[in-house]
């Protein structure tokens, strides 16, 4: 994992702009900063403006753990591709597996509602997946212990994706972000993908093997065990990255007039 904002890495980033590339972003912790209450998360005005500028030039996708309906309510900007519920919604929806995921989540909710949770634990029903947040818990260690014990008892067993002070529960066999990205590549007709994410749920994309097309992965925050190729130090740097991408896609004439890089 190497810094994206180094001279060498930026040249690799620039080379992506010479070919058919899809630009895909995670939402929480990547485009929007992590907030104490997940329902407060929104795109900043600057980020939204920059995303609009980028989307006017190239295909842009947002791939999130949130439901599509929830995502839409958090921004006025509408990207070309919107994928929700870690890949279950919006990529290649198969009605049967979605219905089955919905039924499974309802079972889990019923089972989880029987527990006496400490205050600050929030169970978010995202229809096709669940998110168990413990960011606001007074004792996070206790909340973590109780949550993992409860998750162990769930039937059918879920696929658990730990996030930032959250456990995401998905039905086993449900598509993940990696599968969603491969599907988007096919759908968009692009050859390459630049994917930016911040979480363990994004490792499904970071660990995709380089096949016929190249997936250039960027993680928000450096993490030794991550499979991402590059990193930006913090979420606040996302606008800088977007500015670079827009700059690389400006016509050469404009570039000569504008001169300096972002």
């Amino acid at each position: 994992m190497i810094p994206l904002f180094s001279k060498e890495s930026l040249r690799v980033l620039e080379s992506l702009s010479f070919t058919d590339t899809l630009y895909a972003f995670d939402f929480d912790g990547t485009l929007a900063k992590i907030v104490c209450v997940p329902t407060d998360a929104r795109l900043s005005k600057v980020t939204e403006k920059l995303l609009r500028q980028l989307a006017a030039r190239v295909p842009v996708a947002i791939v999130s753990g949130r439901s599509i309906q929830d995502l839409k309510s958090r921004m006025e900007f509408k990207p070309q591709y919107l994928v929700g519920n870690h890949g279950l919604e919006g990529s290649n929806p198969d009605r049967d597996s979605m219905d089955s995921a919905e039924r499974t989540c309802q079972k889990w909710i019923r089972a989880l509602s029987q527990f006496n949770w400490p205050s600050g634990v929030d169970i978010e029903d995202k229809r096709y997946s669940l998110a168990l947040h413990y960011r606001r818990a007074r004792s996070r260690a206790l909340a973590r212990r109780q949550l993992t014990a409860a998750i162990d008892k769930l039937q059918p067993s879920p696929r658990m994706l730990p996030g930032k002070l959250v456990y995401n529960l998905l039905p086993i066999g449900a598509p993940h972000k990696g599968a969603a990205i491969l599907d988007l590549v096919k759908k968009s007709g692009m050859k390459h993908v630049l994917y930016i994410g911040d979480d363990d749920t994004d490792e499904d994309v970071f660990s995709l093997p380089a096949g016929s097309g190249q997936i250039v992965s960027v993680r928000v925050g450096k993490k030794k065990s991550s499979r991402a190729a590059y990193f930006i130090p913090r979420q606040a740097e996302i606008n800088r990255l977007l500015r670079y991408l827009i700059f690389f896609h400006m016509s050469p004439q404009v570039e000569r007039i504008v001169g300096a890089r972002p």
């Binding site: 190497i2 890495s9 690799v12 080379s15 070919t19 190249q214």
Partner: protein, 135 residues
């Protein structure tokens, strides 16, 4: 290409070779890029951050054959080689902005020069198949 009745096919092949050689010289003097270098750039532009091995497979040459061409392109600053961020023992190669600009100019010119080649169409394909079968 002149075609004389009853000429052995190898004569035609020789004529093609001569024309490619002359086109290559023209390309080098006018564009600063040999046809092989142009071909490599035109494949690399769609393969950002590729391993030299993958690039060699894409242009259908042995990796060792590619090394010299890559070195020349790197010297001209049309491509750059960097460490693979996922494995520092490996290298990846990408095209530079100057490489992309040169490629665009060269492609327009080479398209102009080779516009008549489309007339050969099937003949060229047959020749290619015949040569691959021989080699």
């Amino acid at each position: 290409m002149r075609k004389v009745q009853g000429e052995p096919p190898i004569y035609s092949l020789f004529q093609i070779g001569k024309q490619i050689h002359s086109m290559n010289r023209r390309s080098e003097s006018q564009l600063g890029l040999s046809l092989v270098q142009w071909y490599l750039l035109s494949r690399l532009v769609h393969m950002p951050a590729s391993s030299p091995l993958a690039l060699a497979a894409a242009v259908n040459v042995h990796p060792s054959t590619l090394t010299q061409t890559m070195k020349r392109l790197e010297k001209k600053r049309l491509i750059f080689v960097s460490s693979d961020p996922k494995d520092s023992r490996k290298k990846v190669v990408s095209i530079t902005r100057a490489g992309k600009d040169t490629l665009d100019l060269a492609t327009a010119k080479i398209d102009e020069w080779s516009s008549h080649l489309s007339l050969l169409g099937n003949d060229l394909e047959r020749l290619r198949k015949c040569l691959s079968a021989q080699i």
